[in-house]
């Protein structure tokens, strides 16, 4: 591991910017291309890069498998939860206009939360699948 110093330092420089770019894609999705799905994949790519360079064991210390499994479910729950909240506020399921006083603000809030749910699920699922494949050892000799 120690002989790949350029790779390690390069990854260390890149990873914060990858995560930051994911957040940009997430929160700029209303104005430019991007959204929860792409942001989740990019966010996961940051952790996958970490796991590839620093080893799976270290990556599992940073982001434990139990957490990413839970993220996969949590995102769906956030998404459906927004729908339940709109139901409780007197609207239809996933009708965001009731989330704020102005219908347009309600739409903004709804889109924000829903995209967050997509981000969390996609991130959790991508990292979990990577862990599942990378954690297996080659069968046989």
């Amino acid at each position: 591991m120690d002989d790949r110093i350029i790779l390690r330092v390069g990854a260390k420089i890149l990873i914060p910017y990858i995560l930051l770019f994911a957040l940009y894609v997430q929160f700029h999705g209303d104005y430019g291309p991007g959204g929860g799905f792409q942001a989740g994949v990019i966010f996961a790519a940051g952790f996958v890069l970490y796991a590839l360079v620093y080893g799976l064991g270290n990556a599992k210390k940073v982001m434990p498998p139990a957490v990413v499994h839970a993220c996969g479910a949590l995102g769906v729950m956030i998404y459906a939860g927004v729908g339940v909240v709109t139901l409780l506020l007197g609207g239809a399921f996933l009708d965001f206009t009731v989330l704020a006083h102005e219908p347009e603000h309600g739409q903004h809030w709804g889109i924000l939360w829903v995209e967050l749910g997509v981000l969390v699920t996609v991130f959790g699922v991508m990292v979990s699948i990577f862990y599942a494949f990378a954690g297996r050892r080659r069968a046989g000799p």
């Binding site: 209303d30 790519a45 799976l56 219908p103 903004h108 889109i111 996609v122 990378a134 297996r136």
Partner: protein
């Protein structure tokens, strides 16, 4: 100019696809798959579908290449040599491809405002979404608000994919299972070793 770029990209796609078919080294196949996705993303960008291009580049060229490399570390790098010449499958594929190409002759011209796709709900989205939703990126307002049910379904599908992968590939053996199989605890410790470097 745009036509030249698109023809070049389509030619690159065809070349990559033929190379994918011929090469037996699986590492090269995975890399060519990533290149294929990246060229597709460039093609989508030239068609002004930037959101689709973004997804293709992030998922097709990024994550799935890494996942396939992780799989490659498990299964080895060379495809098994082919035992016989697949004449019949080739014939079936040629006929199907020919029928599909014949089907495109009935397609409406590309980018024509009179196309059916530009008439159903699209005008309403374009006219109403700026003051109904107020989000400049119309793709986001359609995906997240007008078709929120669909997107919830998609999120659930991704979650279901996770459950499927975890059930099939597994979360790695739990210590309890190992005891049950009679393999002891030292196996549990060594199961945390790093995977082989995919390129090594």
């Amino acid at each position: 100019m745009v036509a030249i770029v698109q023809i070049t990209l389509l030619a690159l796609l065809a070349v990559t696809a033929f190379a994918l078919l011929r090469i037996r080294n699986l590492f090269a196949v995975v890399m060519l798959g990533g290149i294929y996705s990246l060229v597709s993303a460039a093609l989508f960008t030239s068609l002004d579908a930037v959101d689709v291009a973004f997804t293709e580049a992030a998922v097709g060229a990024g994550i799935s290449t890494v996942l396939l490399l992780g799989t490659l570390a498990l299964v080895g790098r060379e495809a098994k040599p082919r035992v016989r010449r697949p004449i019949l499958p080739l014939f079936v594929v040629m006929v199907t491809g020919g029928v599909l190409v014949y089907g495109t002759f009935d397609m409406p011209p590309f980018g024509d405002p009179a196309n059916p796709a530009n008439h159903h709900v699209a005008p309403r989205y374009i006219e109403e979404s700026p003051h109904e939703i107020g989000v400049p990126n119309m793709v986001t307002s359609i995906l997240a608000s007008y078709r929120s049910y669909d997107t919830m379904g998609e999120t659930t599908v991704i979650f279901t994919a996770l459950i499927g992968v975890l059930l099939l590939v597994g979360m790695g053996p739990s210590p309890r299972q190992l005891v049950w199989w009679g393999e002891g605890n030292q196996e549990a410790e060594s199961s945390e070793v790093e995977p082989e470097a995919p390129d090594g």
